[in-house]
Protein backbone atom coordinates (compact mmCIF):
# COMPACT_ATOMS: atom_id res chain seq x y z
CA UNK A 1 0.00 0.00 0.00
CA UNK A 2 1.10 3.54 -0.65
CA UNK A 3 3.67 4.78 1.86
CA UNK A 4 2.32 8.24 1.18
CA UNK A 5 -1.17 7.28 2.38
CA UNK A 6 0.37 5.62 5.42
CA UNK A 7 2.46 8.69 6.28
CA UNK A 8 -0.43 11.09 5.89
CA UNK A 9 -2.65 8.89 8.06
CA UNK A 10 0.13 8.70 10.66
CA UNK A 11 0.48 12.48 10.83
CA UNK A 12 -3.28 12.91 11.11
CA UNK A 13 -3.78 10.32 13.84
CA UNK A 14 -0.80 11.56 15.86
CA UNK A 15 -2.50 14.94 15.82
CA UNK A 16 -6.08 14.00 16.60
CA UNK A 17 -5.16 11.37 19.17
CA UNK A 18 -2.57 13.65 20.78
CA UNK A 19 0.19 11.03 20.52
CA UNK A 20 3.21 12.57 18.73
CA UNK A 21 5.15 9.29 18.49
CA UNK A 22 2.28 7.31 16.91
CA UNK A 23 3.38 5.12 14.00
CA UNK A 24 1.18 3.61 11.31
CA UNK A 25 2.35 0.25 9.93
CA UNK A 26 1.13 -2.57 7.69
CA UNK A 27 -1.58 -0.54 5.96
CA UNK A 28 -3.38 -2.83 3.51
CA UNK A 29 -6.72 -2.76 1.77
CA UNK A 30 -9.31 -5.40 2.69
CA UNK A 31 -12.76 -6.21 1.28
CA UNK A 32 -15.42 -4.15 3.02
CA UNK A 33 -18.46 -2.77 1.30
CA UNK A 34 -19.13 -0.88 -1.87
CA UNK A 35 -19.52 2.63 -0.47
CA UNK A 36 -16.15 2.98 1.24
CA UNK A 37 -12.61 1.71 0.72
CA UNK A 38 -11.59 -0.28 3.78
CA UNK A 39 -7.99 -0.61 5.04
CA UNK A 40 -6.50 -2.41 8.02
CA UNK A 41 -3.40 -1.06 9.78
CA UNK A 42 -1.43 -1.19 13.01
CA UNK A 43 -1.03 1.88 15.21
CA UNK A 44 2.02 1.77 17.51
CA UNK A 45 2.66 4.26 20.29
CA UNK A 46 3.94 4.67 23.79
CA UNK A 47 1.54 5.60 26.56
CA UNK A 48 2.81 6.15 30.11
CA UNK A 49 5.90 4.09 29.36
CA UNK A 50 3.95 1.18 27.89
CA UNK A 51 4.39 0.19 24.24
CA UNK A 52 0.97 -0.20 22.68
CA UNK A 53 0.13 -1.77 19.33
CA UNK A 54 -3.46 -1.58 18.21
CA UNK A 55 -5.28 -2.78 15.09
CA UNK A 56 -7.35 -0.06 13.45
CA UNK A 57 -9.56 0.25 10.37
CA UNK A 58 -9.64 3.13 7.91
CA UNK A 59 -12.88 3.65 5.97
CA UNK A 60 -12.38 6.15 3.16
CA UNK A 61 -15.02 7.34 0.68
CA UNK A 62 -14.82 5.88 -2.80
CA UNK A 63 -14.28 8.22 -5.72
CA UNK A 64 -17.84 7.17 -6.62
CA UNK A 65 -20.33 5.56 -4.30
CA UNK A 66 -23.02 2.96 -4.88
CA UNK A 67 -25.59 4.65 -2.66
CA UNK A 68 -24.77 8.15 -1.48
CA UNK A 69 -24.20 7.78 2.23
CA UNK A 70 -23.04 10.17 4.90
CA UNK A 71 -19.89 8.96 6.64
CA UNK A 72 -20.80 11.18 9.62
CA UNK A 73 -24.02 9.19 10.00
CA UNK A 74 -22.08 5.96 9.94
CA UNK A 75 -19.54 7.25 12.45
CA UNK A 76 -22.22 8.52 14.82
CA UNK A 77 -24.10 5.22 14.63
CA UNK A 78 -20.91 3.33 15.55
CA UNK A 79 -20.42 5.67 18.49
CA UNK A 80 -24.01 5.41 19.69
CA UNK A 81 -24.28 1.64 19.61
CA UNK A 82 -20.74 1.05 20.85
CA UNK A 83 -21.64 3.17 23.88
CA UNK A 84 -24.82 1.16 24.34
CA UNK A 85 -22.77 -2.02 24.71
CA UNK A 86 -23.68 -3.73 21.47
CA UNK A 87 -20.88 -5.52 19.60
CA UNK A 88 -19.82 -2.52 17.56
CA UNK A 89 -16.24 -1.32 16.95
CA UNK A 90 -15.12 1.77 18.84
CA UNK A 91 -14.99 4.76 16.49
CA UNK A 92 -11.75 6.74 16.81
CA UNK A 93 -11.73 9.73 14.46
CA UNK A 94 -13.88 11.29 11.73
CA UNK A 95 -12.49 13.55 9.01
CA UNK A 96 -15.03 15.08 6.66
CA UNK A 97 -12.61 17.15 4.61
CA UNK A 98 -10.61 15.95 1.62
CA UNK A 99 -7.32 17.64 2.51
CA UNK A 100 -5.84 14.83 4.58
CA UNK A 101 -6.43 11.67 2.51
CA UNK A 102 -7.96 13.14 -0.68
CA UNK A 103 -11.43 12.04 0.38
CA UNK A 104 -13.41 12.02 3.65
CA UNK A 105 -12.76 9.08 5.98
CA UNK A 106 -13.04 7.76 9.48
CA UNK A 107 -10.97 5.46 11.66
CA UNK A 108 -12.28 2.81 14.04
CA UNK A 109 -11.10 -0.11 16.12
CA UNK A 110 -10.28 -3.35 14.31
CA UNK A 111 -12.03 -6.38 15.77
CA UNK A 112 -9.33 -9.00 15.34
CA UNK A 113 -9.35 -12.78 14.84
CA UNK A 114 -12.82 -12.81 13.36
CA UNK A 115 -14.43 -13.79 10.11
CA UNK A 116 -17.36 -12.69 8.03
CA UNK A 117 -20.00 -14.89 6.39
CA UNK A 118 -20.18 -14.80 2.61
CA UNK A 119 -23.37 -15.15 0.59
CA UNK A 120 -21.26 -17.19 -1.84
CA UNK A 121 -20.92 -19.86 0.83
CA UNK A 122 -23.68 -22.50 1.09
CA UNK A 123 -23.11 -22.88 4.85
CA UNK A 124 -20.95 -20.04 6.19
CA UNK A 125 -21.34 -20.77 9.89
CA UNK A 126 -21.31 -24.59 10.05
CA UNK A 127 -21.96 -25.89 13.58
CA UNK A 128 -21.96 -22.33 14.93
CA UNK A 129 -25.05 -21.29 13.00
CA UNK A 130 -27.58 -21.61 15.83
CA UNK A 131 -25.41 -19.76 18.35
CA UNK A 132 -24.70 -17.02 15.82
CA UNK A 133 -28.34 -16.82 14.77
CA UNK A 134 -29.60 -16.29 18.31
CA UNK A 135 -27.16 -13.40 18.79
CA UNK A 136 -27.87 -12.02 15.32
CA UNK A 137 -31.59 -11.62 16.00
CA UNK A 138 -31.13 -10.59 19.64
CA UNK A 139 -28.79 -7.76 18.64
CA UNK A 140 -31.19 -6.62 15.95
CA UNK A 141 -33.91 -6.54 18.59
CA UNK A 142 -31.66 -4.40 20.82
CA UNK A 143 -31.12 -1.93 18.01
CA UNK A 144 -34.91 -1.73 17.57
CA UNK A 145 -35.40 -1.24 21.32
CA UNK A 146 -32.97 1.69 21.60
CA UNK A 147 -34.58 5.09 22.10
CA UNK A 148 -33.45 7.21 19.16
CA UNK A 149 -33.09 10.36 21.25
CA UNK A 150 -31.38 8.69 24.19
CA UNK A 151 -28.70 7.26 21.89
CA UNK A 152 -28.22 10.69 20.32
CA UNK A 153 -29.47 9.77 16.87
CA UNK A 154 -32.84 11.49 16.89
CA UNK A 155 -31.77 13.79 14.08
CA UNK A 156 -30.83 11.05 11.60
CA UNK A 157 -32.36 11.15 8.16
CA UNK A 158 -35.78 9.51 8.00
CA UNK A 159 -39.44 9.99 8.85
CA UNK A 160 -40.49 10.27 12.49
CA UNK A 161 -44.22 9.95 11.83
CA UNK A 162 -45.01 6.26 12.43
CA UNK A 163 -47.82 6.41 9.86
CA UNK A 164 -45.61 7.83 7.13
CA UNK A 165 -42.22 6.18 7.44
CA UNK A 166 -43.17 3.40 4.99
CA UNK A 167 -43.97 6.00 2.35
CA UNK A 168 -40.74 7.86 2.96
CA UNK A 169 -38.79 4.68 2.24
CA UNK A 170 -40.83 3.71 -0.82
CA UNK A 171 -40.33 7.21 -2.24
CA UNK A 172 -36.62 7.06 -1.48
CA UNK A 173 -36.01 3.80 -3.27
CA UNK A 174 -38.29 4.57 -6.19
CA UNK A 175 -36.18 7.67 -6.74
CA UNK A 176 -33.04 5.51 -6.81
CA UNK A 177 -34.63 3.22 -9.42
CA UNK A 178 -35.77 6.22 -11.48
CA UNK A 179 -32.24 7.65 -11.47
CA UNK A 180 -30.22 4.50 -11.99
CA UNK A 181 -32.15 1.96 -14.07
CA UNK A 182 -30.48 1.23 -17.41
CA UNK A 183 -33.31 -0.94 -18.67
CA UNK A 184 -37.04 -1.02 -17.89
CA UNK A 185 -37.81 -2.99 -14.72
CA UNK A 186 -41.38 -4.34 -14.93
CA UNK A 187 -41.18 -6.39 -11.73
CA UNK A 188 -39.83 -3.49 -9.67
CA UNK A 189 -42.47 -1.15 -11.06
CA UNK A 190 -45.21 -3.65 -10.24
CA UNK A 191 -43.82 -4.06 -6.74
CA UNK A 192 -43.79 -0.30 -6.20
CA UNK A 193 -47.43 -0.06 -7.23
CA UNK A 194 -48.32 -2.96 -4.93
CA UNK A 195 -46.52 -1.40 -1.97
CA UNK A 196 -48.37 1.89 -2.47
CA UNK A 197 -51.75 0.18 -2.91
CA UNK A 198 -51.33 -1.93 0.22
CA UNK A 199 -49.77 0.31 2.87
CA UNK A 200 -48.66 -1.32 6.14
CA UNK A 201 -50.02 -0.30 9.54
CA UNK A 202 -48.18 2.50 11.36
CA UNK A 203 -44.80 1.64 12.83
CA UNK A 204 -44.94 0.26 16.38
CA UNK A 205 -42.28 2.87 17.19
CA UNK A 206 -39.61 4.88 15.43
CA UNK A 207 -36.21 3.24 15.77
CA UNK A 208 -32.75 3.56 14.39
CA UNK A 209 -32.82 1.35 11.31
CA UNK A 210 -29.37 -0.07 10.57
CA UNK A 211 -30.31 -0.25 6.91
CA UNK A 212 -28.14 -3.21 5.87
CA UNK A 213 -28.25 -5.72 8.76
CA UNK A 214 -27.44 -9.06 7.17
CA UNK A 215 -24.99 -11.86 6.51
CA UNK A 216 -21.70 -10.29 5.46
CA UNK A 217 -22.10 -7.23 7.65
CA UNK A 218 -21.09 -8.70 10.99
CA UNK A 219 -17.99 -10.41 12.37
CA UNK A 220 -17.91 -13.53 14.51
CA UNK A 221 -15.08 -15.41 16.18
CA UNK A 222 -14.08 -19.08 16.35
CA UNK A 223 -16.35 -19.63 19.37
CA UNK A 224 -19.37 -18.32 17.46
CA UNK A 225 -19.53 -15.06 19.39
CA UNK A 226 -20.82 -12.14 17.35
CA UNK A 227 -18.13 -9.50 17.80
CA UNK A 228 -18.96 -6.62 15.50
CA UNK A 229 -21.96 -5.19 13.67
CA UNK A 230 -20.57 -3.28 10.69
CA UNK A 231 -21.60 -1.09 7.77
CA UNK A 232 -23.96 1.41 9.39
CA UNK A 233 -23.71 3.66 6.35
CA UNK A 234 -27.42 3.43 5.52
CA UNK A 235 -28.61 4.03 9.11
CA UNK A 236 -31.74 6.16 9.35
CA UNK A 237 -34.89 6.60 11.40
CA UNK A 238 -37.87 4.47 10.57
CA UNK A 239 -39.91 1.36 11.24
CA UNK A 240 -37.82 -1.35 12.98
CA UNK A 241 -39.62 -3.94 10.85
CA UNK A 242 -37.64 -2.59 7.90
CA UNK A 243 -34.44 -4.05 9.38
CA UNK A 244 -36.17 -7.30 10.34
CA UNK A 245 -37.60 -7.75 6.84
CA UNK A 246 -34.14 -7.17 5.34
CA UNK A 247 -32.40 -9.52 7.79
CA UNK A 248 -34.75 -12.42 6.96
CA UNK A 249 -34.76 -11.79 3.21
CA UNK A 250 -34.17 -15.02 1.22
CA UNK A 251 -31.05 -13.56 -0.43
CA UNK A 252 -29.21 -13.93 2.88
CA UNK A 253 -30.59 -17.38 3.76
CA UNK A 254 -27.97 -19.45 1.93
CA UNK A 255 -30.56 -21.46 0.04
CA UNK A 256 -32.83 -22.29 2.99
CA UNK A 257 -35.43 -19.54 3.57
CA UNK A 258 -36.83 -21.47 6.54
CA UNK A 259 -33.58 -20.52 8.33
CA UNK A 260 -33.15 -16.77 7.83
CA UNK A 261 -29.57 -15.55 7.62
CA UNK A 262 -28.60 -19.23 7.28
CA UNK A 263 -28.94 -19.64 11.04
CA UNK A 264 -32.00 -20.58 13.12
CA UNK A 265 -35.63 -21.42 12.23
CA UNK A 266 -37.72 -18.40 11.29
CA UNK A 267 -40.14 -18.69 14.21
CA UNK A 268 -37.30 -18.80 16.72
CA UNK A 269 -35.63 -15.81 15.06
CA UNK A 270 -38.82 -13.75 15.23
CA UNK A 271 -39.45 -14.81 18.82
CA UNK A 272 -35.97 -13.70 19.89
CA UNK A 273 -36.38 -10.39 18.07
CA UNK A 274 -39.73 -9.74 19.77
CA UNK A 275 -38.32 -10.49 23.20
CA UNK A 276 -35.28 -8.26 22.78
CA UNK A 277 -37.04 -5.41 21.00
CA UNK A 278 -40.04 -5.35 23.29
CA UNK A 279 -42.18 -5.04 20.16
CA UNK A 280 -45.13 -7.31 19.52
CA UNK A 281 -44.79 -8.51 15.96
CA UNK A 282 -47.59 -7.84 13.49
CA UNK A 283 -47.12 -10.62 10.94
CA UNK A 284 -49.15 -8.83 8.25
CA UNK A 285 -46.98 -5.75 8.67
CA UNK A 286 -43.84 -7.89 8.52
CA UNK A 287 -45.10 -9.45 5.28
CA UNK A 288 -45.31 -5.96 3.76
CA UNK A 289 -41.78 -5.14 4.95
CA UNK A 290 -40.50 -8.39 3.46
CA UNK A 291 -41.83 -7.33 0.05
CA UNK A 292 -40.32 -3.91 0.63
CA UNK A 293 -36.95 -5.50 1.51
CA UNK A 294 -36.76 -7.28 -1.82
CA UNK A 295 -37.76 -4.09 -3.64
CA UNK A 296 -35.10 -2.14 -1.74
CA UNK A 297 -32.63 -4.83 -2.78
CA UNK A 298 -33.65 -4.42 -6.40
CA UNK A 299 -33.03 -0.66 -6.11
CA UNK A 300 -29.57 -1.15 -4.58
CA UNK A 301 -28.59 -3.74 -7.20
CA UNK A 302 -29.83 -1.51 -10.01
CA UNK A 303 -27.51 1.19 -8.65
CA UNK A 304 -24.64 -1.27 -8.53
CA UNK A 305 -25.29 -2.32 -12.12
CA UNK A 306 -25.37 1.31 -13.17
CA UNK A 307 -22.05 2.13 -11.49
CA UNK A 308 -20.40 -0.85 -13.17
CA UNK A 309 -21.98 -0.55 -16.61
CA UNK A 310 -21.15 3.14 -16.81
CA UNK A 311 -17.54 2.36 -15.92
CA UNK A 312 -17.60 4.63 -12.87
CA UNK A 313 -16.76 1.84 -10.47
CA UNK A 314 -15.42 -1.41 -11.95
CA UNK A 315 -15.38 -3.18 -8.57
CA UNK A 316 -16.45 -6.77 -9.45
CA UNK A 317 -18.77 -6.73 -6.43
CA UNK A 318 -20.89 -4.20 -8.29
CA UNK A 319 -21.13 -6.55 -11.28
CA UNK A 320 -22.07 -9.44 -8.99
CA UNK A 321 -24.71 -7.38 -7.18
CA UNK A 322 -26.12 -5.91 -10.37
CA UNK A 323 -26.44 -9.30 -11.96
CA UNK A 324 -26.87 -12.19 -9.49
CA UNK A 325 -28.56 -10.25 -6.68
CA UNK A 326 -30.87 -8.34 -9.02
CA UNK A 327 -31.97 -11.55 -10.75
CA UNK A 328 -32.49 -13.17 -7.33
CA UNK A 329 -34.67 -10.40 -5.93
CA UNK A 330 -36.68 -10.06 -9.14
CA UNK A 331 -37.58 -13.73 -8.78
CA UNK A 332 -38.48 -13.34 -5.11
CA UNK A 333 -40.79 -10.43 -5.91
CA UNK A 334 -42.39 -12.10 -8.92
CA UNK A 335 -43.04 -15.31 -7.00
CA UNK A 336 -44.46 -13.51 -3.97
CA UNK A 337 -46.57 -10.92 -5.73
CA UNK A 338 -47.55 -13.16 -8.62
CA UNK A 339 -49.34 -15.52 -6.27
CA UNK A 340 -50.78 -12.84 -3.96
Amino acid sequence: MSDDLSERLETYLANVMGIPDLEVASLSRIPGGASRETYRFRARYNRDGTEIERGLILRRDQTTSLIETDRATEFRAYRAFHSLGLPVPEPIALEEGSEILDRPFFVMEEIENCQVGSILSPDPYGPLREKIGRQFFANLGRIARADVDEVGLGDLEGERDPAKCWLHEVDRWEEVIDEDEREPQPIARAALRWLRRNPPPPAPKISVVHGDYRTGNFLYDADGDMRAILDWEMAHLGNPLEDLGWAIDPLWSHGDPSRPAGTIPREEALSIWQKESGIRLDTAALAWWEIFASLKGVAIWISAAREYADGRNMDPVNAFSGWYCLAFHNKVLADRLGTA
Binding site: R29, L120, P186, R197, P316, F320, Y324, K331, A334
Partner: protein
Protein backbone atom coordinates in the same frame (compact mmCIF):
# COMPACT_ATOMS: atom_id res chain seq x y z
CA UNK B 1 -15.46 -24.16 -31.74
CA UNK B 2 -14.32 -26.78 -29.26
CA UNK B 3 -13.77 -25.85 -26.52
CA UNK B 4 -16.73 -23.46 -26.48
CA UNK B 5 -16.48 -20.16 -24.66
CA UNK B 6 -18.62 -21.39 -21.75
CA UNK B 7 -16.23 -24.25 -21.06
CA UNK B 8 -13.25 -21.91 -21.21
CA UNK B 9 -14.92 -19.51 -18.79
CA UNK B 10 -15.91 -22.33 -16.42
CA UNK B 11 -12.48 -23.97 -16.33
CA UNK B 12 -10.77 -20.59 -15.98
CA UNK B 13 -13.04 -19.75 -13.05
CA UNK B 14 -12.13 -23.01 -11.35
CA UNK B 15 -8.39 -22.42 -11.85
CA UNK B 16 -8.66 -18.82 -10.65
CA UNK B 17 -10.64 -19.68 -7.53
CA UNK B 18 -8.75 -22.79 -6.50
CA UNK B 19 -5.16 -22.20 -7.64
CA UNK B 20 -4.36 -18.60 -8.51
CA UNK B 21 -6.41 -16.61 -5.99
CA UNK B 22 -4.88 -18.28 -2.91
CA UNK B 23 -1.43 -17.20 -4.14
CA UNK B 24 -2.35 -13.51 -4.22
CA UNK B 25 -0.54 -11.94 -1.25
CA UNK B 26 -3.27 -9.61 0.06
CA UNK B 27 -6.66 -10.47 1.54
CA UNK B 28 -8.25 -7.82 -0.64
CA UNK B 29 -6.75 -9.28 -3.82
CA UNK B 30 -7.80 -12.80 -2.86
CA UNK B 31 -11.34 -11.69 -2.09
CA UNK B 32 -11.75 -9.80 -5.33
CA UNK B 33 -10.29 -12.71 -7.34
CA UNK B 34 -12.93 -14.99 -5.84
CA UNK B 35 -15.66 -12.57 -6.91
CA UNK B 36 -14.19 -12.41 -10.42
CA UNK B 37 -14.18 -16.22 -10.51
CA UNK B 38 -17.88 -16.22 -9.54
CA UNK B 39 -18.58 -13.72 -12.34
CA UNK B 40 -16.79 -15.97 -14.82
CA UNK B 41 -18.86 -18.92 -13.60
CA UNK B 42 -22.05 -16.88 -14.12
CA UNK B 43 -20.85 -15.71 -17.54
CA UNK B 44 -20.33 -19.33 -18.54
CA UNK B 45 -23.99 -20.05 -17.73
CA UNK B 46 -25.11 -16.98 -19.63
CA UNK B 47 -23.10 -17.75 -22.77
CA UNK B 48 -25.30 -20.65 -23.81
CA UNK B 49 -28.63 -19.21 -22.78
CA UNK B 50 -28.39 -15.45 -23.38
CA UNK B 51 -30.06 -15.33 -26.78
CA UNK B 52 -32.64 -17.95 -25.83
CA UNK B 53 -33.66 -16.04 -22.67
CA UNK B 54 -34.19 -12.82 -24.58
CA UNK B 55 -35.95 -14.42 -27.54
CA UNK B 56 -38.26 -16.36 -25.19
CA UNK B 57 -39.06 -13.26 -23.13
CA UNK B 58 -39.81 -11.26 -26.24
CA UNK B 59 -42.05 -14.01 -27.62
CA UNK B 60 -43.90 -14.28 -24.28
CA UNK B 61 -44.48 -10.53 -24.11
CA UNK B 62 -45.73 -10.39 -27.71
CA UNK B 63 -48.10 -13.30 -27.07
CA UNK B 64 -49.40 -11.54 -23.95
CA UNK B 65 -49.95 -8.30 -25.86
CA UNK B 66 -51.84 -10.16 -28.58
CA UNK B 67 -54.01 -11.85 -25.95
CA UNK B 68 -54.86 -8.72 -23.98
CA UNK B 69 -54.99 -6.00 -26.63
CA UNK B 70 -58.67 -6.59 -27.50
CA UNK B 71 -59.62 -5.96 -23.83
CA UNK B 72 -57.85 -2.60 -23.57
CA UNK B 73 -60.08 0.45 -23.89
CA UNK B 74 -57.21 2.94 -24.03
CA UNK B 75 -56.76 3.38 -27.79
CA UNK B 76 -53.10 4.45 -27.64
CA UNK B 77 -52.07 1.54 -25.47
CA UNK B 78 -54.10 -0.92 -27.54
CA UNK B 79 -52.44 0.28 -30.74
CA UNK B 80 -48.96 -0.06 -29.18
CA UNK B 81 -49.80 -3.56 -27.97
CA UNK B 82 -50.98 -4.61 -31.42
CA UNK B 83 -47.95 -3.11 -33.15
CA UNK B 84 -45.51 -4.75 -30.72
CA UNK B 85 -47.33 -8.08 -30.92
CA UNK B 86 -46.97 -8.24 -34.69
CA UNK B 87 -43.26 -7.35 -34.80
CA UNK B 88 -40.52 -9.95 -35.27
CA UNK B 89 -36.83 -10.12 -34.35
CA UNK B 90 -34.57 -8.74 -37.04
CA UNK B 91 -31.40 -10.25 -35.63
CA UNK B 92 -30.39 -12.87 -33.07
CA UNK B 93 -27.49 -10.81 -31.79
CA UNK B 94 -27.87 -10.26 -28.04
CA UNK B 95 -27.61 -6.49 -28.51
CA UNK B 96 -30.51 -6.55 -31.01
CA UNK B 97 -32.60 -8.83 -28.80
CA UNK B 98 -31.91 -6.50 -25.87
CA UNK B 99 -33.15 -3.51 -27.85
CA UNK B 100 -36.41 -5.33 -28.63
CA UNK B 101 -36.62 -6.52 -25.05
CA UNK B 102 -36.33 -3.03 -23.62
CA UNK B 103 -39.00 -1.71 -25.99
CA UNK B 104 -41.35 -4.55 -25.06
CA UNK B 105 -40.67 -4.12 -21.33
CA UNK B 106 -41.71 -0.49 -21.50
CA UNK B 107 -45.03 -1.50 -23.04
CA UNK B 108 -45.42 -4.32 -20.50
CA UNK B 109 -45.04 -1.81 -17.66
CA UNK B 110 -47.72 0.43 -19.20
CA UNK B 111 -50.02 -2.53 -19.70
CA UNK B 112 -49.57 -3.81 -16.14
CA UNK B 113 -50.12 -0.34 -14.65
CA UNK B 114 -53.26 0.04 -16.75
CA UNK B 115 -54.62 -3.31 -15.55
CA UNK B 116 -53.80 -2.38 -11.94
CA UNK B 117 -55.61 0.93 -12.30
CA UNK B 118 -58.71 -0.60 -13.85
CA UNK B 119 -58.85 -3.53 -11.44
CA UNK B 120 -58.56 -6.05 -14.27
CA UNK B 121 -57.12 -9.54 -13.93
CA UNK B 122 -53.32 -9.27 -13.84
CA UNK B 123 -52.56 -12.98 -13.55
CA UNK B 124 -51.53 -13.38 -17.22
CA UNK B 125 -49.00 -10.56 -16.73
CA UNK B 126 -47.65 -12.11 -13.55
CA UNK B 127 -47.30 -15.46 -15.29
CA UNK B 128 -45.05 -13.80 -17.87
CA UNK B 129 -43.09 -11.92 -15.19
CA UNK B 130 -42.57 -15.08 -13.15
CA UNK B 131 -41.29 -16.92 -16.21
CA UNK B 132 -38.96 -14.02 -17.04
CA UNK B 133 -37.55 -13.93 -13.52
CA UNK B 134 -37.11 -17.70 -13.39
CA UNK B 135 -35.19 -17.78 -16.68
CA UNK B 136 -32.77 -15.07 -15.54
CA UNK B 137 -31.90 -16.73 -12.22
CA UNK B 138 -28.25 -17.73 -11.88
CA UNK B 139 -26.60 -20.58 -10.01
CA UNK B 140 -23.58 -19.90 -7.82
CA UNK B 141 -20.53 -22.15 -7.76
CA UNK B 142 -20.34 -24.68 -4.93
Amino acid sequence: MKPEADQILMFSAIKLASEYAPQIPTQYGQGMAQVVAALMFMSAQEYDRAADIRASENADMRALFKLLAPQIADAGLRRDLETAASAREESLRVSALNASNEHLRKILIRLHAHLDETGADTRPVWDVLKAMAARRTLTLPG
